[in-house]
């Protein structure tokens, strides 16, 4: 396996790394950059625990080779808080108890951020549909829905189903 030198932009910082050309992004993040918030679970893009944002869009880092993302902007959960302050979505998840074991939580939070970037005021159906690719085995979906609803600009009753 050849090594390759790549430059990655992660959470606003650039890193020059030498990695095996077949390494997946999840492994680079966890092993080379010590960013453990993205996790491995299913290995096939079904569960969402490896979710990161690539130029603002949610992708499965277990299905992306690191060489594919050179030059693009990656956001991991570690990049969400600013100056020690939690991102509003993170705070909403705490306020609504939207997790149990929290293995899926970074993936869900990042997917929520991506959702709100695409839909400023999503209704319940849109929220459920958008987040349906993030599995929560502990079953915190009800509280997650409440947390995401609270992130809408106006807590509009007519949107809740």
């Amino acid at each position: 396996m050849d090594n390759k030198t790549v430059t990655l932009h992660v959470n606003g910082q650039s890193h020059a790394l030498e990695i095996p050309s077949g390494q997946i992004l999840l492994e680079t993040l966890r092993e080379d950059l010590d960013l453990g918030g993205a996790r491995g679970s299913c290995g096939i893009g079904m569960c969402g625990t490896c979710t990161v944002l690539l130029d603002g869009k949610a992708i499965s880092s277990c299905l992306m080779l690191t060489i594919q993302v050179e030059g693009k902007h990656i956001t991991t959960i570690e990049g969400l808080s600013q100056n020690g302050e939690l991102h509003p979505v993170q705070q909403a998840y705490i306020d609504h108890g939207a997790f149990q074991c929290a293995y899926c939580t970074p993936g869900l939070i990042l997917s929520t951020v991506a959702l709100l970037n695409e839909h400023e005021n999503p209704d319940d159906a849109t929220i459920r549909e958008y987040l349906s690719g993030n599995l929560c085995r502990c079953g915190s979906y009800v509280n997650i829905l409440n947390a995401v609803r609270a992130c809408r600009p106006v807590d509009d009753q007519s949107h809740s189903v």
């Binding site: 050309s21 077949g22 893009g45 079904m46 499965s60 992306m64 997917s111």
Partner: protein, 285 residues
């Protein structure tokens, strides 16, 4: 996992690499299939040709006679394109049914067609739409109707030295009504047990054209022109729709997998062809 990684910057360079490595090469487009296969050690190519940075392969171009879609266009971009939603809502919907948002952000239409996964949504929709695939090698270009492109289980007529360079969807008759039904027998996140794509054109109450493609229940998406023609020049009665649905169910050889037995799929073809046609007739917005 020991392969040579190639990242061509241009189409000629990519085609040159394929000409050189032929069936020892694997093309990496989005990666949702290929990276999975590599991780699970299901494939062991000599060369991995990553074409993600080849320019001008991701586009949606609407013309009078049809629409051209670049092979590297992501399924999500097709799903969300207002142009596709306006002209071919069937295709936008079918692409939007694939996997989850993350998969759709990464997977490409070219990659999807080249893989020829039977349990997939876009090929069924594209077959009903009469799509054509352009396959290009270093020496030649050919245009292939999708029905001739998809040959069988994970098999297409694409040669090892060819890349899909365009997908063309010809315009439908004005006022066409279309629908894609993805029936999932288990979780909402499941791959299709049965997929039905239907497009119909009408002159008042009389149907002038019908195309119905069934996928995921069989090896490759399937249209039955003889059965489709039963609907031509007819007003759609319940009996007619039932006859078409029953004929589709009787004529398609279904397969068994974890999402349903062959018997069950036969029932689902009948049920969902009928529901697709009823939706077109009754409930079309």
């Amino acid at each position: 996992m020991n392969y040579k990684l190639l990242q061509p910057d241009s189409l000629p360079e990519a085609l040159g690499a394929l000409a050189q490595y032929s069936d020892e090469a694997k093309v990496l487009a989005g990666g949702t299939a290929v990276v999975l296969f590599l991780q699970q050690r299901l494939i062991e190519p000599t060369a991995l040709v990553s074409i993600g940075q080849v320019p001008d392969l991701a586009y949606i171009r609407s013309e009078t006679n049809g629409m051209h879609i670049g092979p590297l266009t992501t399924l999500r971009d097709i799903e969300r394109s207002s142009v596709v939603q306006g002209r071919f809502p069937l295709l936008a919907h079918a692409c939007g049914e694939v996997g989850n948002v993350r998969i759709r952000n990464q997977a490409t239409l070219g990659g999807n067609l080249a893989e020829a996964d039977y349990a997939s949504d876009p090929p069924t929709a594209l077959l009903a739409l009469g799509a054509q695939v352009t396959a290009t090698s270093a020496n030649a270009t050919r245009i292939i109707p999708l029905g001739d492109f998809l040959l069988g289980f994970y098999t297409t007529c694409l040669e090892p030295d060819e890349l899909i360079t365009d997908i063309y969807v010809p315009a439908c008759a004005s006022g066409s009504r279309m629908i894609y039904l993805k029936y999932k027998s288990r979780s909402s996140e499941d791959r299709p047990c049965t997929g039905v794509a239907a497009i119909a054109a009408f002159d008042a109450e009389t149907c002038t054209d019908l195309r119905v493609a069934v996928g995921a229940a069989c090896e490759i998406p399937t249209r039955l022109p003889t059965v489709e023609s039963l609907a031509h020049d007819e007003v759609w009665t319940d009996d007619l729709l039932r006859e078409i649905a029953t004929s589709y169910a009787a004529s398609i050889e279904t397969l068994d997998d974890i999402r349903g037995s062959a018997w069950y799929r036969t029932q689902m073809i009948r049920v969902h062809v009928q529901r697709a046609l009823e939706e077109i007739r009754n409930g079309y917005r």
